[in-house]
Amino acid sequence: MRANFIFSEVWIGLRRNLTMTIAVIVTVAVGMALLGVGLMINSQVSKLTGFWSDKVELSVYLCVKGSPFDACKNKGAVTQEEKGSLEQTIRGLPEVESVKFETQAEAYKNWQNTENNTLLLSVTKVEDMPESFRVKLKDPEKAAVVASNLKGQPGVSNVVNERDLLQSVFGFMDTLRNMALGIAILMVFAATLLIGNTVRLSAYNRRRETGIMRLVGASNIYIQLPFVMEGLIAGLIGGVLSGVLLILVKIFIFEEIQTYMVAPLGWDTVAGVITGTMAIGVLICVFASFVTLRRYLRV
């Protein structure tokens, strides 16, 4: 096997089909980048889910003075007796694992840590914050039942299932991921067809050479290798470009939203995703070259 012979053939093939090769490279790059983004969102979501799953709870907010909630109107703040009986009721429920009481001061402190609107911070006083029971459930799926149970109780302003809030965020990320993966699959499909076409053109362009090679007894590998290498090199360049795109996505998108994500996506994950998508890109190219060769290059 003469390496320089193979490489000169590969180079000639790539140059002759330059536009086709560029199309392959771009398709592979975009397709693999989208696949990578899908995987990155996926791992971000599972990280968040893991982080939040032991923190989700029901928040039972209690009435404060001048609360705008219907349940509290014209009643004023919750009374001490109401608080006591409410805690009894909650503790009495079989679905409840534990209950924690959050005072106005604690609520204010927590809120101050997460809010960064300075105007709002300056006008809000401790007395405006509602007290609440933080209820942890044995089975988070039962949240809706418990919530509706507690909603009508005297002194309760509102019951919030924090899971619902998270669910909407996760739902949004799931949609993003599915879209990215869906488009990635389409791009992979397009890349496969494009590579097939490129190889077919290449085989047609070099039919004289391959015909003579066949005639003088060149082995099948020797005849096919330049074509497969063309696919491999195009796939590799596409893969490298997709790696660059993924790094940009990490820097400009994931780093940006990192402030809202308590569990950041590490560079190790990104590196893994890039390696994976590059390998997939190259494999797809080689596979597509091989399959088309069998159709268009009789050996």
Binding site: R2, F5, G211, I212, R214, V216, G217, A218, I223
Partner: protein
């Protein structure tokens, strides 16, 4: 060297067989003309020898190998022992004479030192000394065919198949081509030549196998093309 035993070949979508129960023996070192009108099965015969086609029935042995038992993987090795020349030369237009001949050795992985030694010898054998760096388009038809013969012979095949090698060449030049084929034959290479050229067949006085409608109608040593033509 080439042994056909009751070989029948029917192409798909055709009722009439291209070869119909053909049995032929060609010995080592023989020079055989394969004659007959177009469509009589000459080219099919050559394609079967190369295992480019498979017979529907009958068995073919080439260079001691049963082609039916030869795996696809080994077909390239069979073809290394068979040289081929065609009516349309089939040279690579972007390579010069030397490179065209060397190409046949490069693609079967021969070492460069060997190629540098052998290629000039063969170019001389076919009478193209001094023209190694010409491009095919700068050569006459006869010279191009000599390049093709050099390429077919450079790996010292046991068999040389020639499919109407003089078909595109004027009679005067054809004589030169035949001299080269004769020279190749004298090195011990079996030559099998399909042709329409009565004058050449008559002048060479070699074995003649005549095909008609896929059947052998004549097999004559030191024969002529035939009175009918």
């Amino acid at each position: 060297m080439i042994h056909f035993d009751n070989v029948t070949k029917v192409y798909a979508n055709q009722n009439r067989p291209a070869l119909d129960h053909v049995s032929v023996d060609v010995d080592k070192g023989e020079f055989v003309f394969l004659v007959g009108p177009s469509g009589s099965g000459k080219s099919t015969f050559l394609r079967l020898v190369l295992k480019e086609e498979r017979p529907n029935s009958g068995s073919i042995h080439v260079a001691g190998k049963d082609l039916a038992k030869l795996s696809n993987f080994k077909v390239p090795h069979l073809r290394r022992r068979i040289g081929c020349v065609f009516q349309d030369f089939r040279l690579l237009p972007n390579k010069n004479v030397y490179e065209n001949v060397a190409f046949a050795l490069e693609v079967i992985g021969k070492p460069r030192r060997f190629i540098r030694k052998v290629v000039p010898e063969v170019i001389e054998l076919v009478g193209l000394e001094g023209k190694a760096h010409r491009m095919p388009e700068e050569l006459s038809g006869g010279e191009q065919q000599r390049v093709a013969m050099a390429r077919a012979f450079v790996n010292r095949p046991m068999i040389l198949l020639a499919d109407e090698p003089t078909g595109n060449i004027d009679p005067a030049t054809s004589i030169g081509i035949m001299k080269v084929l004769d020279r190749i034959n004298r090195t011990g290479t079996t030559v099998l030549m399909a042709t329409h050229d009565a004058a050449i067949v008559d002048s060479m006085r070699k074995r003649v196998v005549e095909l008609e409608d896929g059947k052998i109608v004549r097999d004559q040593s030191r024969g002529v093309y035939g009175q009918a033509y």
